[in-house]
């Protein structure tokens, strides 16, 4: 049985920040990551981030990942396990982990769950043809392994991920046949959408995919226009020849460990689905379980990093590792988070959060 003060599950932007800030305050942290590398989705982000200097604005996601990974490896209070899958959280506080093929148990005093989110998919005819990917898979192929996913690709979804990945595809030399968005307007940042339009990429708003076509792999896609009730309009179908289709239609928080542990959950469509109720210190309804990042509601990586910092600082302080600068650092991080959520693009997030963030106690 492993004993540690804090177990951080997931080493993406939220988990790395949580581990770093908890360990810097003096706590012993075990950071477990399912993948064979740290950084989560950050390592695939070749674009520059928005926000303010404190959240690494102006830097590329992959460079931020490198900084955080180096920082986490330099702190002696953090033990890092890669290829480690958390299998279960039991009522007696025991956590089971599969670590490099071996079965391990741990009994941490506190747990910070930062498992992130998984991609949503869509039901349409032939959605299982080779050539159809989630946006995460496209980024992994292109930006991690240097493999182009297709010669000519159609993007479904004009949210931030859709517009950013479409632009990355152009940078990799892939033709982008268009972006299809069911809503009447582009949801992603204007600056990314404008770049695509300057490259002549058509954006089909109020459109949706009807069917994929192909024999042994994807050859084309039929899209059609949607009416005001989001129903396809007969006769508006158009065929687009592509060998790749990329789905960027949202993310669902990866909450199974929270359900297992009995945390109180609530459905908030604005945050991607079921998320845990928690207080302003990121504590769930479970005394020893905290959350940070997309698992507590799908948002930008910048917000995930600040939530990770808050959770890390707070959990360390609960365990008696309170830095002299705790109050100042904690308040600064809270104001950063409010600033990140103050723009018009964050209205939806804030509506979702108002359903699940409990009044601050104490």
């Amino acid at each position: 049985m492993i004993t540690t003060e804090i177990l951080v599950i997931g080493a993406g932007p939220a988990g790395l920040m949580a581990a770093i800030h908890a360990a810097e305050a003096g706590a012993k942290v075990l950071l477990v990551e399912r993948a064979d590398r740290l950084g989560g989705q950050l390592i695939k982000q070749t674009h520059k981030f928005f926000g303010s200097k404190a959240e690494f604005a102006g830097e590329r996601g992959m460079d931020i990942a490198e900084k955080l990974i180096n920082q986490s490896s330099d702190i002696s209070g953090i033990t890092i396990w890669k290829n480690a899958v958390v299998l279960g959280i039991y009522p007696d506080g025991v956590v089971t982990i599969s670590y490099e093929g071996a079965f391990c148990t741990a009994r941490p005093k506190k747990i910070i769950i930062a498992t992130g989110a998984s991609e949503k998919t869509m039901a349409f005819p032939n959605n299982d043809l080779p050539g159809i990917y989630g946006a995460g898979a496209v980024q992994t192929l292109m930006n991690v392994h240097g493999v182009i996913p297709a010669k000519r690709i159609l993007m479904i979804g004009a949210g931030n991920i859709g517009v950013i990945v479409a632009y990355q595809l152009l940078q990799a030399g892939v033709k982008v046949a268009g972006i299809v968005e069911a809503a009447p307007q582009v949801g992603g940042y204007r600056v990314h959408a404008a770049k695509l339009q300057r490259h002549g990429v058509p954006i089909y708003t109020s459109h949706s995919i009807q069917s994929a076509h192909g024999d042994s792999c994807l050859e084309g896609v039929t899209i059609s226009k949607l009416d005001e009730q989001w129903q396809p309009i007969d006769g508006s179908e158009q065929y687009i020849a592509v060998d790749g289709l990329c789905l960027a239609v949202g993310l669902s928080p990866l909450t199974e460990l929270l359900w297992q542990a009995g945390c109180e959950m609530k459905f908030a469509a604005e945050l991607g689905g079921y998320v845990p109720l928690r207080d302003a210190n990121m504590k769930t309804s479970h005394e020893n379980i905290y959350v940070a990042g997309d698992v507590s509601g799908v948002e930008e990586a910048s917000a995930a990093m600040v939530e990770g910092k808050l959770a890390g600082l707070y959990v360390a302080s609960v365990l008696g590792h309170k830095k002299d600068s705790f109050t100042k650092e904690f308040q600064t991080a809270k104001s950063q988070l409010s600033a990140l959520r103050s723009g018009p693009a964050s209205v939806k997030i804030c509506t979702g959060l108002s359903k699940v963030v409990l009044e601050e106690v104490g």
Partner: protein, 92 residues
């Protein structure tokens, strides 16, 4: 291609037609549908198909998505080899 042939659960090869058939028989929760046809019981443990099936139940019953209960989540979250378990806990 018929819409009923759309694959909903990739792990277990369950089609939209099969899911609709289960719903038509009165199974209006993920738990009941999974017990009848194994949807969501493969390696991904329903991470892909659960939201799609919930949408189908919502459409058929007129209930909001938020009122359709999810199945019980139990350990383990991911498949584990018998060999790992046979060795016992490495750290015991």
């Amino acid at each position: 291609m018929n819409h009923n042939d759309i694959i909903i659960c990739r792990c277990e090869d369950i089609t939209l037609g099969e899911i609709r058939e289960q719903i038509a028989q009165g199974k209006h929760t993920l738990e009941e549908i999974k017990r009848a046809c194994r949807s969501g019981m493969g390696p991904c443990q329903g991470r892909t198909c659960a939201p799609l099936i919930v949408n189908e139940i919502a459409k058929a019953t007129g209930k909001p998505v938020a009122q359709i209960p999810l199945p019980t989540f139990r350990p383990s979250t991911s498949p584990i080899k018998m060999a790992s378990l046979l060795g016992g806990d490495k750290h015991d």
